[in-house]
């Protein structure tokens, strides 16, 4: 068995990198530094928890903001998925998360009554490379930001001559391989000792979303902006797509939008685990269920 690996902490979770090749310690250390620096840069721009981040800035003040080069795909995706979910997938959920107590300090204390959000289009005019913010509201790019960072780091590996790898960011992953199929257990959200099935991916990403761990009071980290509640009829969702950003964002969206609506705009396979342990999945989701 060849292969090498390393990990580091970023975006509040463990990032594990596995390689088919047997790299030297020195080379591993070099790659690790390149990747962890990139992750740090990314967080300093896109985290709503960093006071001087771009996301914090556009959350606080109206006006026109210049966007960095690497933001185009992410902003395009947010505005596009926003349309295909009838406005329900929105970065303005940051306002709700914050009001509900999922804030910088992790206070989990609800700050007053949750209110309905205005439409994304009416709050911000986006045309890369600028965004014109008309009303300052708290943004959060957490629903697809981690997936996008997975894609970026994958690209960075390829630019450094590494074509076979697996990036696992706390259960959301992207795998590239000429030969190996990756067997990914789908965690039972009610019993972490168990899996409810095994998905097999190759040169794809699989991302999962679940309310089970990040829970406080009546809330978890996913909100339906219409009901102002965290959905409870779905326990977990998994999405397989070519890009981790797409898989990540859609996994969240399946909690409040119909797969058929999202399918109109994106190419992906999905599996939804309902709270009664029934499963709904697309025809080609590559899974064996237990």
């Amino acid at each position: 068995m060849g292969g090498s690996s390393f990990d580091f902490l970023a975006t509040g979770t463990k990032w594990q990198f596995d390689f088919a090749e047997d790299f030297s310690v020195a080379k591993l250390e070099m790659i690790r530094t390149i990747l962890s620096n990139r992750a740090e840069d990314f967080e300093s721009i896109y985290s709503r928890f960093r006071e001087d981040s771009l996301i914090s800035k556009i959350s606080q003040k109206s006006g026109e903001f210049a966007l960095p080069e690497d933001s185009e795909k992410l902003f395009d995706f947010y505005f596009r998925l926003n349309k295909f979910t009838n406005g329900k997938f929105t970065p303005l959920v940051g306002e709700l998360l914050n009001m509900a107590g999922y804030d910088k300090e992790y206070s989990f204390i609800t700050k007053g009554v949750l209110e309905h959000m205005p439409d994304l289009e009416s709050v911000a005019e986006y045309k890369f490379p600028t965004i014109n913010v008309k009303e300052p509201l708290k943004w959060d790019l957490g629903a697809a930001g981690k997936g996008y960072l997975i894609d970026l780091l994958g690209k960075l590996l390829e630019e450094n001559g590494i074509s076979e790898y697996c990036i696992d960011a706390g259960g959301d992953m992207l795998q590239k391989s000429k030969t190996k199929v990756l067997r990914v257990g789908l965690e039972n959200p009610k019993n972490f000792e168990q899996v409810i099935g095994v998905a097999e991916i190759k040169n794809q990403s699989i991302c999962g979303s679940s309310g089970s761990r990040r829970q406080w009071g009546n809330f978890h980290h996913i909100f339906d902006i219409n009901s102002l509640q965290s959905p409870t009829d779905i326990l977990s969702t998994w999405v397989v797509a070519e890009s981790a950003m797409v898989a990540d964002g859609i996994a969240t969206s399946l909690f409040f939008s119909k797969p058929v609506d999202i399918k109109r705009g994106f190419d992906f396979e999905y599996l939804i685990l309902n709270s009664d342990f029934t499963v709904e999945r697309s025809k080609y989701f590559p899974v064996e269920l237990f």
Partner: protein, 167 residues
């Protein structure tokens, strides 16, 4: 326009099975539940069919997983034939049995008449699977995807709150 099922069911198996007959009955039952209009609306999802005079039947879409005692693990394929108001039709059901539980099921429409196609697709689309889970150490895995490895800061904070809440 009651559709009635006849007893012509061909079963092919992949693997050596001998106690097939009772199982066939269940397959037939599954097909029956799905395709034919149930007059009783169940507590599960009920879809209203076309509002035309001809067809106003309600079709229940949910099939609960069947648990059968003592059958050999394996893949089973069965073709169910039935007579619809439009003529003879069939539907193919592929099922994987593991430890007496149907772990996978696929229903393939063999219908040729337009109305039967609509009816069968309704059934196929609404077929529900149920999962029970399996211990991680019983399954060969490279990775696990879920929420157990979520933000450490978040988990620490929750733990803190739990401690405070206990007092």
């Amino acid at each position: 326009m009651e559709e009635s099922i006849d007893s012509k069911v061909e079963v092919k198996t992949e693997g050596s099975q001998n106690k097939i007959l009772p199982f066939v009955l269940i397959v037939v039952l599954l097909i029956g539940i799905g395709i034919f209009a149930l007059r009783k609306p169940s507590k599960e999802e009920v879809l209203e069919m076309g509002k035309g005079e001809e067809q106003s039947a309600k079709v229940t879409m949910t099939v609960t997983p069947a648990i059968i005692a003592n059958y050999k693990d394996g893949k089973y394929v069965a073709t169910g034939n039935y007579t619809s108001p439009a003529g003879d039709e069939s539907v193919e059901v592929k099922i994987t049995l593991k430890s007496n539980v149907i772990t996978e099921a696929e229903v393939i429409s063999k219908a040729t008449k337009p109305k039967s196609i609509t009816m069968q697709n309704l059934f196929i689309g609404g077929f529900m699977e149920m999962v029970v889970g399996k211990n991680i150490n019983e399954v060969k895995l490279d990775k696990v995807s879920g929420s157990s490895l979520t933000s450490k800061g978040f988990n620490d904070a929750i733990e803190k709150i739990k401690t405070v809440a206990k007092v």
